[in-house]
């Protein structure tokens, strides 16, 4: 029995954050290098790791995150290996090299605590996606892990003068320097229930990238339980 399962044992650690398979994130923790992770995303850990839900630092930064209940992040500290996952969503590990990225709140899995981060509300769009569209801007040099339902796609926005329009439910992340605005593409017909089904989009313009997932399921599964 062990022979067949042994193939899934963790690989030797080579970096702070690594994929274990497509859908699990392995973080090598050490004291002094704290991590912010989505509350409820921990699936396993090995070593001595402590969790502090709703830490004061995060509370201040993310004071307004989704109806003010507090940021759904926990601070993880200690030594060991930490495994995170979000209900089988694909995990993409990004090593920021003095870059910045703006991630949809539900698609952020974990990030280094020393990174600069802040919560933003996309102006004028909150009413479009059901619960409001919140995003976290992370910048600096360090590690970020984001999730995507299905293999994501990355599109260069700065191609030609045309804007890129994204279904807000499928949006994962984008470059913070892009200009964002809401677009309503419905016509009169959609008011009587005959729309194309694509009534609202977010329009991006400028130089940068947009990450989109192949699913319009933006349910925040980690939040359902509380």
């Amino acid at each position: 029995m062990n022979q067949q399962l042994a193939g899934f044992a963790p690989t030797p650690v080579t970096a702070r954050m690594e994929n274990h398979g497509r859908t699990m994130l392995k973080v090598a923790m050490a004291s002094g290098q704290d991590l912010y992770a989505r509350t409820g995303s921990m699936v396993a850990y090995e070593g001595f790791i402590q969790y502090e839900p709703n830490p004061p630092a995060a509370r201040q930064i993310a004071s307004q995150w989704i109806t003010g209940e507090g940021a759904p992040v926990m601070k993880c500290s200690g030594d060991g290996l930490l495994y995170l996952a979000d209900y089988g969503a694909d995990v993409v590990v990004i090593n920021l090299d003095n870059d910045s990225i703006s991630v949809n709140g539900t698609n952020l899995l974990a990030f280094d605590a020393h990174l600069t981060w802040g919560v933003e509300k996309v102006k004028g769009l909150a009413k479009f996606a059901g619960q409001g569209l919140w995003n976290v801007v992370v910048q600096g040099t360090g590690w970020v892990a984001i999730t995507s339902r299905g293999t994501p796609i990355v599109v260069d926005c700065g191609r030609g003068e045309d804007e890129t329009y994204v279904d807000p439910d499928a949006l994962v992340a984008w470059s913070p320097n892009l200009k964002v605005k809401g677009k309503r593409s419905f016509k009169a017909g959609s008011l009587i229930g005959r729309g194309s089904g694509e009534a609202y989009q977010m329009a991006f313009s400028g130089q940068g990238i947009v990450v989109v997932q192949p699913s319009e399921d933006s349910t925040d599964r980690l939040r359902i339980r509380n």
Binding site: T151, I209, S215
Partner: protein, 534 residues
């Protein structure tokens, strides 16, 4: 139907087969001579810039296992498995070569060939004989090369030098020969051809006795990255299932990720073989942009775990991390971006596209999304399923990205032929296609009838499936669950067969009555079934 190539012939792989998971067999033999058959993965300058893509007996697979050496089987002296959509972008050409081991020259060889087999069917063969050669000691048999799409060329070019000359030609370096270690460790078994379901090795006409030991008689040379496992493994029997193979997963000493042949558990890209669609040419599968999961090695217990802050192999920075997921443009109208996302370029070809409502995840350019009166289709389907199938019409100039709930998407290109697709599994199609609704009625089908859409004409239909589907040929005894069947070729006939009370007591509370669809048709027809019963 296999095509016969002559020296110099070229063709797109997509014209030969819809599959991208290919078996490449080489037969070359001469009395008293032995041959080394290898595959060079070359970069854009036709140089072997990465030693790990020199696939030969001592290095039987590339790091992400897109190229694997399988050994002798099915009458082939040597065989490879090539998964085109997993080959990294840096590799632009695969050159299959045969070199003489020992004395001799190529003119001595008997009739041989290189062939490509997809889905168990040989699609192309390039045959050669010794009379085409003289004193050469190495020959480049055929190339896979990337020019917009993957293509195959029959080369048949000889080299006077042996393997060393060939290596030098490709810019590689010859490792110094070393005396063989006393106990030559057996290789971990190369991935058996029988393991992945969609990858059909040709039926073996005779048991291939030499299969399990592609390397045993040879001295392992210092291969760059292949760590031979410490445990000696007996050569596996060809029919040994992968699970039973002794996975060398617990070596005693830490070593570079060796070769635990873990069965791919995470649904690695496996281009399904819609192989039997008549006259079909699916647009080439773009690289799915997925990084193969790194080999699962072992972490020896007790090793202190530091926190390396090293830069990942792909390089630092946002762009490097996201590079595998980049948009791919091939200049075709329909381009799969990955298994779950389809890009349609409305600037190619005039007509618009009809897509399921809400399936647009992104678009660029000026595209109009309009309500498409579902008409009879929508009403008929809606009445039965209680949920109207609504379409939107995408017109204009730009690129639209379609996806739905992470389903796997499969473009099926119709060239005058027809296909029936279960209405729930249609994601999008060219407006130029004619379509009509067909009802398959039968007692016991949920909703009273199964609604399918028959597409005919020239254009592309995008079908979505939950999970990797299976394509079955229609035989006199082909049955499918009406909830799991996705599509079938229009020429096959559907019969509802109720297997009444076959297992009356099998499930308490269940009537025991199962409704199946039986398919009948001439050879060449096929059905597509998904691993998910809606």
């Amino acid at each position: 139907m296999a095509r016969e190539f002559q020296r110099g012939h070229k063709a797109k792989i997509s014209d030969l087969t819809a599959g991208t998971d290919l078996y490449v067999g080489v037969q070359i033999a001469a009395p008293g001579l032995t041959f080394d058959i290898s595959c060079f993965g070359l970069d854009a300058n036709e140089q072997l810039s990465d030693d790990r893509y020199f696939i030969f007996f001592n290095q039987p697979k590339s790091p992400e296992e897109s190229i694997q050496l399988l050994g002798a089987q099915s009458g082939d002296t040597e065989s490879f498995r090539v998964t085109l959509d997993r080959i990294p972008a840096a590799i632009q050409k695969l050159s299959f070569t045969a070199t003489l081991d020992g004395a001799g020259q190529m003119s001595q060889i008997g009739p041989g060939y290189i062939r490509i087999v997809a889905g168990g069917e040989e699609v192309v063969r390039y045959a050669f004989t010794g009379s085409e050669f003289t004193t050469e000691r190495a020959v480049m048999l055929g190339d896979f090369y990337l020019k917009d799409v993957w293509r195959f060329a029959a080369v048949g070019q000889g080299f006077d030098g042996g393997l060393e000359a060939l290596l030098k030609n490709f810019g590689g370096e010859v490792a110094e020969e070393e005396p063989p270690p006393a106990a030559a460790p057996g290789f971990a078994p190369p991935a058996q051809a029988a393991a992945p379901p969609a990858f059909g090795a040709p039926p073996a006409p005779q048991p291939a006795p030499a299969f399990g030991a592609p390397s045993a008689p040879r001295a392992p040379q210092p291969a760059p990255s292949f760590g031979a496992p410490a445990a000696p493994t007996p050569p596996p029997a060809p029919q040994q299932p992968m699970h039973a193979a002794p996975t060398i997963a617990a070596p005693l000493a830490p070593q570079p990720p060796a070769a635990p042949q873990a069965p791919s558990p995470y649904g690695q890209p496996q281009q399904p073989q819609f192989g039997q669609v008549p006259g079909q040419g699916v647009p080439p599968a773009a690289p799915f942009g997925q990084q193969a999961p790194s080999p699962y090695g072992q972490q020896p217990p007790g090793v202190p775990q530091g926190v390396p802050q090293g830069v990942p192999a792909t390089g630092a920075g946002l762009r490097a991390a996201l590079q595998p997921y980049k948009e791919t443009a091939t200049g075709q109208r329909w381009t799969p971006q990955n298994q779950q996302l389809m890009r349609v370029d409305l600037t190619m070809g005039g007509a618009g596209v009809l897509a399921r409502q809400g399936s647009m995840v992104m678009y660029q350019g000026k595209v109009d999304f309009g309500y498409k009166g579902a008409g009879f289709v929508g009403r008929a389907v809606g009445n039965a399923t209680g949920q109207e199938m609504q379409l939107m019409r995408c017109t204009g100039r730009g690129q639209v990205f379609l996806a739905e709930e992470g389903s796997h998407l499969h473009p099926i290109e119709l060239q005058g032929d027809g296909i029936c697709v279960s209405a729930e599994n249609v994601l999008a199609f060219d407006e130029s296609l004619q379509y009509e609704v067909r009802r398959v009625e039968g007692h016991g089908i949920p909703g009273g009838a199964l609604f399918t859409m028959l597409f005919q004409g020239t254009g592309t239909v995008v079908v979505k499936t939950h999970g990797t589907p299976v394509v079955l040929p229609v035989t006199p005894t082909t049955f499918a669950d009406c909830n799991a069947v996705v599509a079938w070729s229009a020429a096959s006939q559907v019969i509802v067969s109720s297997q009444v009370r076959l297992r009356r007591n099998a499930y308490p509370g269940h009537s025991g009555e199962t409704v199946n669809l039986q398919f009948r048709g001439a050879p060449g027809n096929f059905i597509v079934v998904q691993p998910y019963e809606v």
